[in-house]
């Protein structure tokens, strides 16, 4: 994407019929650290990679609880994400107050999308630079939506956004047919595996990722580090055995990973800001 004379204003069309500012906003999403979501018939799992500015700082919060039945994971400008989460929380509270029932997820994403669209049609505004994976449960079942800065929204069975998300998407595309009937624990495992794909060689430990679950009988909550680390340890052992079978001759480098990890898991790096 090159600089050109049609990209100064969000309200300027290019001759090819594109709004460059909106497309640049979507680039911001691609630069953010990865976030993934996947769903079954009864549960949705969100996961994200924690990026800290330096060894000294804590990492940013990228997964927000919006209501007992809705949660959101963001990628891109986290400040914009925080503001939109606050808006979503407010909408849920107001709906509950008026109708004494939880806000249907489909309604919330439309409101969010319309809010994003406004910013693409006012010369004094700029688009939100954040992509949101909205996970929610309502009467019509489990849903996972992706809201873009452009004001579009899509429903997904599984999706990944942010940097190196293509690796996760490839993994999800391979496995998604099993998700509908998967158990809650299998779904969480798949989420962790998808996150591992985005790390591409970095050691996978619970301080690097955050996982959140919402489902039937299970209000939205973020899993604590210990639980996540346990799940990682559990399937790392399986992963060790799988690697020789996986791709004949392709993944020789995968083998040395497991051993240093078991030691690394005990000594933690940066602690997250809050849970």
């Amino acid at each position: 994407m090159f600089r050109n004379q049609y990209d100064t204003d969000v309200t300027t069309w290019s001759p090819a019929g594109r709004l460059f500012q909106v497309e640049y906003a979507m680039e911001a999403v691609k630069q953010g650290s990865a976030a993934i979501g996947l769903r079954s018939k009864t549960h949705i799992v969100l996961g994200c990679v924690n990026k800290a500015n330096s060894e000294l700082s804590s990492h940013q919060k990228k997964i927000f609880k919006v209501d007992d039945h809705i949660g959101v994971a963001i990628a891109g400008l986290t400040a914009d994400g925080r503001v939109l989460s606050r808006y979503m929380r407010n909408e849920c509270i107001n709906y509950s107050f008026t109708y004494e029932s939880p806000l249907p997820v489909g309604r919330l994403v439309v409101q969010l999308a319309d809010k994003a669209q406004v910013c693409t049609q006012r010369s004094w505004k700029r688009p939100y630079g954040v992509g949101l994976l909205v996970a929610g449960l309502d009467e019509s079942g489990a849903h996972l939506y992706y809201n873009c800065p452009s004001g579009n929204y899509f429903e997904y069975q599984a999706f990944a956004i942010g940097s190196r998300s293509q690796a996760a998407k490839t993994y999800l595309e391979r496995k998604f047919e099993n998700f509908t009937d998967a158990s809650r624990d299998d779904l969480v495992k798949d989420a962790i595996m998808a996150i591992r794909e985005t790390l591409q060689g970095e050691t996978l430990k619970s301080s690097v990722c955050t996982i959140a679950v919402v489902g039937v009988g299970e209000p939205f909550h973020i899993l604590d580090q210990a639980t996540v680390q346990q799940m990682i340890d559990a399937f790392e052992i399986v992963g060790e055995q799988e690697a020789p079978d996986a791709a004949a001759g392709q993944e020789a480098s995968a083998e040395p990973e497991p051993e240093p990890e078991q030691g690394a898991a005990a000594g933690e790096g940066v602690a997250p800001m809050d849970i």
Binding site: K65, R86, R89, N90, I93, N94, S96, F97, D274, I275
Partner: protein
Amino acid sequence: MTKQQANWSPYDNNGGSCVAIAGADYCVIAADTRMSTGYNILTREYSKICKLADKCVMASSGFQADVKALQKNLAARHLIYQHQHNKQMSCPAMAQLLSNTLYYKRFFPYYSFNVLGGLDNEGKGCVFTYDAVGSYEKVGYSSQGSGSTLITPFLDNQLKSPSPLLLPVQDAVTPLVEAEAIDLVKTVFASASERDIYTGDKVEIVVVNAAGIRREYMELRKD
């Protein structure tokens, strides 16, 4: 020319009584379950008690439509607080919020007479008592509603601590144990039901302590 009087009132009084007693590590909040209008009973099984936070419970008598609106308002504000602070509101914080919410409608008040009970940050029982426009005070025990004129003198006799101006400073909370306080509450409601027509049917007793919140009921006179 005499001044024109209103031919309609936005308020109604649904009657009932509420009581709360604070102990060293517990708090008892109780209210009868009768909802009436005029000389009629609307229902014998209406709860006037609402859990606002983990360790904070409110009982309100007066106009129940206003009470319901007030409870919903506080519940919504509490959710916002939880999102922002990542924790539940403490009882003293909720007490201040309730006072501000009531005063906000100073010129069209919530017709709601409240007692707030729960545990403070140190786990000690606390009771806050309010008027309709938010004036409040932390006390060791309190009663509001139609039976309060019958109940308060009895509680004063059993629980009143000496003047707070005396030294050494005495705690407002009662030295009674939980079981004794519950017994006192039952006695008090049984007595109030005898003479107050708006109090009766059942008393709902809620106990807040370190283990959590539990609820029990006792039958009262149905007349």
